[in-house]
Amino acid sequence: MKEEINISRLNIKKRQKENKSVFGIFAPFIAVVLALLVGALIIAMAGASPLYAYQWLLYGAFGSLNSFSETLIKTTPLLISGLGLAIAFRSNMISIGAEGQIIMGGLFATLAGLYITGLPAVVMIPLLIIAGFIGGAIWGAIPGLLKAKLGVSEIINTIMLNYIALYFVNYLLDIPLREPPGYFPQSAQIVKEAWLPVILPGTRLHAGFLLGLLLVVAYYFLMFRLPLGYKIRAVGLNPHAARYGGINVERNMVIAMALSGGLAGIAGMSEIAGVQHRLLGAFSSGYGFDAIAVALLGKLHPLGVLASALFFGALRVGANSMQRAAQVPASVVYVIQGLVVIFVLTDTFLQKHMVSWRKSRPAKKTSGEEA
């Protein structure tokens, strides 16, 4: 039987066989192109030139050493927390909680950077990374535990924990952690030894980006070369089979969520130690939400996540010059980001179905074709 769904003249047929190999690799690329095309349409409808706008977007993101380093700075937290989310998604846990985990990682790193003093940078920086990891890991493990022990949806709990983290940090910055004399809701600066060093002189690019690249490699080894990664992936692919194979499903769910949160926490640490050097209320500016799209667009593969984090980082940076030079509102990049996610989702559908414009539909049905 052929399954046919007709939407006006759009004709969608089940494919004879899935051409997964080729299409699967290019799907994210096609999604990006489609999103940019629709974005161009939206820019044109507002009376601006899409080509001119995209030129400035590109120039703003990569046009000079400084803009390129700004792109890498924005890429860093997206990359690290995107890798974290990829771990959760691989274990079939759906986490919307990276934003809260980034905030908690940033908080823990700040506390370490404020109250541990008198140590050299070689000790301080690893200490902050560990602190950030712990902060994020706690925030990830809670919904993991609640799911494993009580079966509570991790989706709602990760969302709730985002708000709890945000208000908690806002409270801390309102009273106990506020830098004297207290005009602004921000903490004092962390000690200089805890700052991530600038790796490209003359720019703000900090060592957090290198840390991100290291974590790309670490993610690859963890997920594809170590037993723990195998277990996490097995739990994600089929929990029943994994249990039958002797894997403790609940424990690995919690571990995956804790690791996922821990990486987001490191992203928060990198933002604090590399860019802000102090805790601010809204320091994450939505990295955790964008990281969901980053992980997804990167197909949960380390190199894919790196590429998509770079793409999203470039969008963030380029948007501002596009707005200044071409008078196109920067928010159009969020439209593009959202569309990328939406189009990526349709790829499995397109893999299974052929889409074509129906001219005159032949009435005869061939019965011999089995899907």
Partner: protein, 316 residues
């Protein structure tokens, strides 16, 4: 700390009135989310749907000078946004959580973009005609309860009146029965000649209309302006309220009131300038939701087909 500022009539009436007012948009959105949840669809897009509803409601009121037309625009905008979710969740069979996330990012972008295009980058639009309070004769004069319950804009009354209506549809009509069956066992509905796909689409659109209206309450019911990200997570809270309220209109009413009360209380406490960390009050609903879901209010079991796309061919 001056507690006499808290324990007086003006404060308490203000707090209760604010609670009811703040609960209304959540209630509308979460009543809408009952429709999607009951047919097995995770409506994480609720935030984006509300946001588009808030913008289109605002823009409709701006264009026509009539808040009522604005509300219709809000419903239409919400329904259209919900249709994207419908297409992805029902026809494509995509991961519904990810679809919702994508729609939320898209909605944040498109509403901010259109706002800039319509009014110029960085320009704040002037206030638009918004709804006025309609005091209900006689009832509004009752002390405390009067201002709390009977002096609101029409959409607030509508939100509360919809609670029994949704309850009736869900539990006393054939459509409600079909809905609930689709959420529990779509294959059985299909076998008995029901239309799973159509039922799901209808429910997604209804949820879009209600959440869009909820968004419009924020823009033209409470503030009479639209700001970027005006919903500020209320869509997610509405989704939590549905789970908290166990997918039942009465439970959802209670959950929305709780969230509304926490919002109203922190607003009033800030207004009187008390140095209580209001952030903890703001945190309370989220904590309560987590505790409630962990089993304090009894076991919550979502509809069995939650999150699962349905296709005739590979239905289990």
């Amino acid at each position: 700390m001056d507690w006499s500022k808290v324990f007086n009539e003006v404060f308490i009436i203000g707090f209760l009135t604010a609670s009811v007012r703040m609960a209304a948009p959540l209630l509308l959105a979460s009543l809408g989310a009952i429709f999607t949840a009951r047919v097995g669809i995770i409506n994480l897009a609720l935030e984006g749907i509300m946001l588009v509803g808030a913008f289109s409601g605002f823009y409709g009121a701006y264009l026509t000078g009539n808040p009522l037309v604005g509300a219709l625009f809000g419903m239409a905008g919400g329904a259209l946004t919900a249709l994207i979710l419908g297409f992805l969740a029902i026809t494509v069979g995509a991961n519904q959580t990810v679809a919702g996330t994508g729609i939320n990012i898209f909605a944040l972008g498109i509403t901010s973009y259109l706002l800039s295009v319509a009014f110029g980058i960085g320009n704040r639009p002037s206030a638009v005609p918004s709804f006025k309070e309609i005091p209900i004769p006689v009832l509004a004069d009752i002390p405390i309860i009067g201002p709390m319950l009977f002096n609101h804009i029409g959409l607030v009354y509508l939100a509360f009146l919809l609670v029994p209506v949704v309850w009736y549809i869900l539990f006393r009509t054939p459509f409600g029965l079909t809905m609930r069956s689709v959420g529990e066992h779509p294959k059985a509905v299909d076998t008995l000649g029901g239309n799973v796909i159509r039922t799901r689409y209808i429910c997604v659109i209804i949820s879009g209309i209600l959440a869009g209206l909820g968004g419009a309450v924020l823009s033209i019911g409470q503030l009479s302006v639209f700001m970027e990200n005006i919903t500020a997570g209320r869509g997610y809270i509405a989704l939590a309220a549905v789970t908290f309220g166990k997918w039942n209109p009465l439970g959802v009413l209670g959950a929305s009131m709780l969230f509304g009360a926490a919002d109203g209380l922190q607003l009033r406490l800030q207004a009187v300038g008390l140095k209580i960390p209001y952030q903890f009050l703001l945190m309370l609903p989220y904590l309560l939701t987590m505790i409630a879901l962990a089993g304090l209010v009894g076991k919550t079991t979502p509809p069995a087909a939650m999150g699962k796309p349905y296709s005739k061919q590979d239905a289990r």
